[in-house]
Amino acid sequence: MRNVAVIGVGYTPVFVSKRRDVNIVEMISESVDAAFQNTGLTPDDIDAVTFGNMQTFEGLNLPHLWASDHMRAIDKPIIRISTGGTTGMSVLQAAYYYVASGMYDVVMAVSWEKQSEGDSQVGLSGIVLPEAMTMVAHGMDLFTGKGIGFGGGGSTGAASYQAMSYLHHSGAEPEHIDKMAALERSNAALNPYAHLRKKTTVEDIQATPMVAFPLRFGHTCPTSDGATTCIVASQEMVDKLTDGNVAWITGVGSATSDPCTANFLEGQITDPAEQKPAKIASEKAYRMAGIENPGRELDMSEMYNGFAHQSLMWLEKLGVCREGEAHKMLDRGALDIGGEMPTNASGGVFSTNAIGTSAMNRPAECALQIMRKIEGEHQIPKKIKKALAHGWGGMFQYVTVMVLADEPG
């Protein structure tokens, strides 16, 4: 396999709840333009394109077809990848494989979501609606909670069950979720590409209503409009096209289990907080990256956290710390931007969530941190040698992992 590096990142100028001024393909063009501007490349330098989003969030099938001109993919090989929440990283991993395999040298990975054009709550219901209707046909009551069957649970979805199971097994308290939420929102306040950018205290979070215990309103992510483009290249093209300040992809992994919280039709056998795919995927990525002790060797992490408890949970599931340790790291400031394991210095998905981009922004942020090209004030002060990026999707079942580094390894 060949060495592959992220050589540049392009975000839309903002991630906000509503881009009223542009249509979908115009918005995508902004992030592609930014990537070209940031790398000094032109479309002629691009050998192939990988692309993805969540189709039903915009009601648009195979949107790379309409976006062909706007993302400068005319006459290029292109592949569309979509895996739910993990889409962004799955798209970047496809670009990685395209280069690692020797097929192509420079590949552009494009992800986007314009969630204001649809209703994402409704779009998410589309994951399981036929299954739910089958249960309804057998007497399930969708609305009152009477009877047995429905896996969905409270209005924060099955995330509340996951949070409770996490708390139970880790020994963390609900207050730790508040604290993590406040930390990440405050990080987001420093990031010009974050959506919710307000310095936030634990008290602010605790003032929000409890929706489905243990999750509060202030524990949930926003829905955003935005697009992200990453350009990856082979060693040879890194030498040719860049000054060498790039972020190397040294480990990749992905794994699935089953739609654990939605398998009410055929029996749920997986604890939503168990997340064994995180272990499978991360162990593979660490092995590739030559990492034996992730907690000691990694310098930062970007976790996919649609809900505020998840960063803590993932740190444990991905082996960054032992089970039950993450909330202690939080308590001692280890997860702060200046801490030993800065986690979601960007503010995370919890602060910015244009879903297709959410799992691409994680490795993109790691790459920018490594390259010390962070715009805004969330640059981690210490030198970043190895960074962990994580994506999560499907119906609680997919995990993607990437390790990025300042050296090809």
């Binding site: 396999m1 249509n23 969540m54 189709q55 039903t56 915009e58 009601g59 648009l60 099938n61 195979l62 949107p63 790379h64 077809l65 309409w66 976006a67 062909s68 001109d69 005319i74 006459d75 290029k76 090989p77 292109i78 592949i79 569309r80 990848i81 979509s82 895996t83 739910g84 799955s90 991993q93 496809a94 494989y97 395209y98 690692a100 395999s101 020797g102 097929m103 779009g123 998410l124 219901s125 589309g126 994951i127 299954e131 990749v252 992994g253 992905s254 794994a255 699935t256 289990s257 089953d258 739609p259 939605a262 499978i280 995927a281 590739m288 999707g393 499907g394 119906m395 079942q397 997919y398």
Partner: protein, 383 residues
């Protein structure tokens, strides 16, 4: 030096109505395939699914597809495009050196569950074309057919011959369901007129289908089968969405072919390719694809039809399986073309067998009037 990858096995099913849930269709196909290969799901290093949210009617279509293909607690990803792209990605994953086996599984149920023409309409520019409602898969295909006929003098009778040949071939293929053993060009001419010049029998049938391919690295391929079919070249290309695209001299078909030929070191495709399986969803697309791929000279569609050059025993057999007119399930479509190439090269093609087939070409497409085209060259010659 790129790592060698082979197709070591395949299975497919196509029907107007599978009578099964999507999950059950996938489970039965994959279970049967594993058993036939003498392997289990644990022998698969990475799963590349190929499906579509609108085709399946499910947001994140692979959520309920992982388990029935055997991917529980395994490495998995999903391509949302034609099956040839999924096979390409699986190949690339193996080429990276990180995997030795990859299972590609495509499926959709256009016969029983979803409405293919409606799913295609969701690909339109939602702010313009879909608002006007003039463009749909049939009207767009009809315009493309008319353009080819105007440009190169293909007659309706010749167009009907193309359709009839495919439908007759399909009747010989147990994996196609839309075959018509004795169909004549006159029968095609008598079918319902939709958008001129397109008639019902020029169009792909709505299909429930699934297809599975197992790809493997050189070493693993030789362990798994005595008859590996080597992937020699792949290529794909995207055209513009907008009508400035030349739909009869398809640049993306041409570029896809050129890329695949270059990788496979094929200088003279018309001579080197023994059989081609192309995804012509409408009869007139077959000459456009074949000509873009250099299998026949530009504009020769009429002559090819008259002289039977694309017949089973012709100079360049095209779609001995009956092609997309015999069965065409979204996402599985391109994989079925590859599976048919595998049957040909493995000598398993029964009544549709092309004599001495050693190198084959599979083509897949996405979008209105073939906006995105993908090609894979496969061969029994290891090289």
């Amino acid at each position: 030096m790129l790592r060698k990858v082979a197709i070591v096995g395949q299975a497919q099913m196509n029907a107007a109505d599978s009578g099964m849930s999507r999950e059950r269709m996938l489970f039965e196909l994959c279970k049967g395939f594993y058993d036939s290969m003498g392997i289990t799901r644990h022998d698969i290093d990475t799963f590349v699914l190929c499906s579509n949210d609108f085709a399946s009617g499910h947001t994140i279509s692979n959520v309920f597809e992982d388990c029935p293909v055997g991917a529980y607690m395994k490495d998995e990803t999903k391509v949302e495009a034609d099956g040839v792209m999924a096979a390409t990605y699986a190949m690339i994953r193996i080429m990276s050196g990180l995997y030795d086996t990859a299972l590609v599984v495509g499926n959709s149920q256009g016969g029983s569950v979803m409405r293919p023409y409606l799913v295609m309409e969701y690909t339109l520019n939602q702010t313009y074309d879909r608002q006007l409602g003039l463009m749909n898969e049939l009207s767009a295909a009809a315009l493309q057919a008319r353009a080819y006929m105007d440009e190169f003098g293909l007659t309706e009778e010749q167009l009907n011959k193309i359709a009839a040949r495919n439908l007759r071939n399909a009747a010989l293929n147990p994996f196609a369901f839309n075959g018509r053993a004795d169909v004549t060009p006159e029968d095609v001419a008598a079918s319902d007129l939709l958008y001129e010049p397109l008639r019902q029998l020029h169009c792909y049938p709505f299909t429930d289908g699934a297809c599975v391919l197992l790809l493997a690295s050189e070493e693993k391929a030789k362990e798994l089968t005595d008859r590996p079919v080597w992937i020699k070249g792949v290529g794909d290309s995207l055209d513009t969405y907008y009508p400035e695209r030349n739909a009869v001299r398809s640049k993306s078909v041409k570029l896809a072919g050129q890329r695949a030929y270059k990788m496979a070191d094929v200088g003279d495709p018309a001579n080197r390719i023994d059989v081609a399986e192309v995804s012509a969803k409408f009869a007139h697309q077959e000459p456009i694809i074949c000509e873009g791929l250099g299998l026949f000279p530009e504009g020769s569609g009429g002559e090819v039809a008259d002289r039977g050059l694309a017949d089973l025993d012709g100079a360049m057999p095209i779609c001995p399986s009956g092609g997309a007119l015999g069965a065409y399930a979204f996402n599985a479509g391109g994989l079925v073309r590859l599976a048919e190439c595998h049957r040909q090269l493995a000598g398993d093609a029964g009544d549709t067998q092309v004599v001495d087939a050693r190198t084959a070409l599979a083509h897949g497409q996405d979008g209105f009037c073939m906006q995105h085209n993908a090609v894979m060259i496969v061969s029994v010659e290891e090289g």
